[in-house]
């Protein structure tokens, strides 16, 4: 587990700013997933730093929209009054979240976005399409000149981010005449099919492939392992997220780099914002939100690029970003 220590000075400032009765903040991801491992310390740190009554991390038993909805609403019954949510579906989660906002509990979306219109405050996340675009650019850069073929391993097709990521990759490739997408293999966000399909691909077309871009957690892990097994380091790969397997592969040089999402920072800041909103603050009308395919109220938490140069201090990369965002967050986005 990564330790993030916010400076004492910062927390002292914030503690005075917080209202006496802290919010009971619930952090709810879409389902059990290693990605959200950093949400729990994020919530706890926010609880400690901002004097929340609670910063509880609650996970639906499965990746099912209905289960998440049921969990969220039952938390309202249990008295949670502010929420940080990774929506199970950017469209389908809206009615439930609107309902929750209707009960007077603010909702901040983290690590993903909800499609407009909705009553949630805003979302703080990585822009999936842009991240995939930049990742692909890095990959193309690392492959060097000459005609190249790349393969894209993506997650569930039913998840809208997957479509955005496919678009992002296509856009980056379109900017380079010499590069072509050889194949897109999707729906492999579970270990068994990922293993089966990626192995099959590598066996059949590995020799013709120059680069791999992966935009899902599991495909990244499986592809990183496949490259380690191959051992030649001929095929370049840029992945996503920070699974230890991937981090190690970057250290060992099998993987060029990975696009991070900073879940710790996202949950930490979102919990802070949810608490402030509950205590009477409102989102500024003229807040400088950035553009996002889904929503007009998007705060880019940044997508740092993890590579051999900075892989040793990933925690510091995340923390620096978190600190920077938090330091100006309230005055930039909130009216208190």
């Amino acid at each position: 587990m990564f330790k993030y220590v916010t400076t004492a000075a910062l927390s002292a400032v914030l503690a005075t700013a917080a209202m006496a009765d802290g919010s009971k903040v619930g952090l709810v991801p879409g389902g059990p997933h290693p990605f959200f491992a950093d949400w729990e310390p994020g919530g706890l740190a926010a609880q400690k730093d901002f004097g929340l009554e609670a910063g509880d991390f609650k996970v639906p038993q499965k990746w099912e929209l209905n289960l998440q909805n049921d969990l969220l609403l039952s938390m309202v019954v249990q008295g949670y009054d502010a929420f940080v949510v990774h929506p199970g579906d950017p469209v389908g989660s809206a009615p439930t979240l609107n309902e929750i906002v209707g009960t007077g509990s603010p909702v901040v979306i983290a690590s993903a976005c909800l499609k407009d219109p909705s009553d949630v405050a805003f979302c703080i996340a990585t822009e999936a399409r842009d991240s995939a675009y930049r990742g692909t650019k890095k990959l193309i850069e690392s492959m060097g000149d000459g005609p190249k073929k790349i393969v894209h391993f993506a997650g569930w097709l039913v998840e809208p981010n997957t479509q955005l990521r496919i678009e992002g990759v296509e856009r980056a490739v379109a900017e380079h005449d010499s590069v072509e997408i050889f194949q897109v293999i999707a729906d492999i966000d579970a270990p068994e099919p990922a293993e089966e399909k990626i192995s099959a691909y590598m066996a059949a077309y590995g020799s013709e492939t120059d680069g791999i871009i992966t935009t899902g957690w599991v495909p990244t892990v499986v592809a990183a392992n496949a490259l380690r097994k191959d051992g030649s380091k001929r095929i370049k790969m840029v992945g996503i997220d920070h699974d230890p397997v991937v981090v190690q592969a970057i250290k060992d040089g099998y993987v060029v780099g990975s696009m991070l999402q900073n879940p710790y920072g996202q949950s930490y800041i979102a919990a802070f914002a949810a608490d402030r909103l509950r205590s009477g603050c409102s989102v500024k009308d003229d807040a400088p939100f950035t553009a996002h395919p889904l929503t007009a109220r998007f705060i880019d938490s940044g997508a740092p690029y993890l590579h051999a140069g900075n892989v040793e201090d990933r925690a510091a990369v995340d923390e620096a970003m978190t600190k920077e965002l938090l330091s100006t967050f309230e005055e930039t986005y909130l009216d208190c």
């Binding site: 270990p191 293993e195 089966e196 399909k197 099959a200 059949a204 397997v245």
Partner: protein, 309 residues
């Protein structure tokens, strides 16, 4: 038969199919899926269903990985203990079914939730990463060219299960119970024991599959097993098993697994539009079983029918 046709079509279209590496990949996928399919097949044999194969497999998988990472137990011991957990989980299924007399469907549905829940409670959805190198090596290296090591346990188990169903008293009793449990009881077979043993075997096979997957993925993923259910039924049923029980064929189940693996690989090799993969997969399964069925009808027509009355 279907396997041969599928192989010919795939290899004609894509010469890469016959590469050594491709053979290895195919064999690896088949090895693990065979264990999963057999785990279900044993229970189909006694005329029941085991919805918890995936949950048991996943639980054994994370136990295996967890014991090595957290307690530093050596791989063979951990594997032994994980298999013991699988057998125990299976025996719980069996004991509950026999004791309550409730359908296996309901009981294994409940235990599915329990085993999967324990899995989540232990891992909190975080994988175990520190898998010893030799375990990973077992899952990913080969001998004699394209033959993966992982094929050895799978093949051994196929032979054993086949031998059990065809030659061992236990296997015959299993089938007797599945075909007509009343008759089996009247013939002095202890039906309760047989059902419990069947579930133990199923648990054993599911656990083995889970451990093999850990070796293969070099990861103790908590999601291992989530997707097994349909595959576990599909292969035996494509292979002609009767869901009502009493008739299973190990060899046919293996062919069922091979057909599914060929289809999956074919979809990658032919670069099917990712949005169409599911449609093609479904259509091919339908075609495979349809062809088998058509062949059966043809052979039935040439044989004189049995008369009675």
């Amino acid at each position: 038969m279907v396997c041969i046709i599928a192989t010919i079509i795939i290899s004609l279209k894509s010469p890469a199919f016959f590469s050594a590496l491709n053979g290895q990949v195919l064999l690896e996928a088949i090895s693990i899926n065979i264990l999963i399919a057999l785990s279900q097949m044993v229970i189909i044999g006694v005329g029941q269903m085991n919805l918890s194969v995936g949950a048991i497999g996943g639980f054994a998988a994370i136990s295996f990985a967890g014991m090595m990472e957290v307690w530093g137990i050596s791989a063979p011991v951990a594997a032994g203990l994980a298999i013991a957990i699988g057998v125990l989980a299976g025996s719980l299924n069996g004991i509950f079914i026999v004791w309550t007399g409730v359908s296996a469907f309901v009981v294994t549905l409940a235990t599915l939730a329990i085993f999967k829940g324990l899995n989540l409670a232990i891992t909190e959805a975080q994988p175990f990463y520190n898998i010893p190198a030799e375990v990973g090596a077992f899952g990913n290296t080969t001998f004699f060219g394209p033959l993966p090591w992982i094929l050895i346990p799978a093949l051994t188990i196929v032979v054993c299960v086949n031998f059990m169903f065809n030659r061992m008293p236990l296997g015959r009793k299993l089938l007797a119970v599945g075909a007509n449990s009343h008759a089996a009881k009247l013939s002095g077979i202890n039906v309760s024991h047989v059902i419990i043993v069947a579930h133990c075997i199923s648990g054993f096979l599911a656990a083995t599959a889970g451990i093999a997957l850990v070796a293969r993925l070099q990861l103790g993923q908590p999601t291992i097993g989530d997707d097994w259910l349909i595959m576990s039924f599909a292969a035996p049923v494509i292979g002609g098993a009767i869901l009502a029980g009493g008739h299973v064929s190990t060899v046919a189940t293996v062919f069922g697994v091979i057909i599914v693996a060929l289809i999956t690989q074919g979809l990658v090799l032919f670069k099917v539009d990712p949005y169409l993969v599911q449609v093609v997969l479904g259509a091919l399964i339908l075609a495979a079983v349809g062809f088998n069925r058509w062949k059966d009808i043809q052979t039935a027509k040439t044989k004189p029918g049995m008369h009675s009355g």
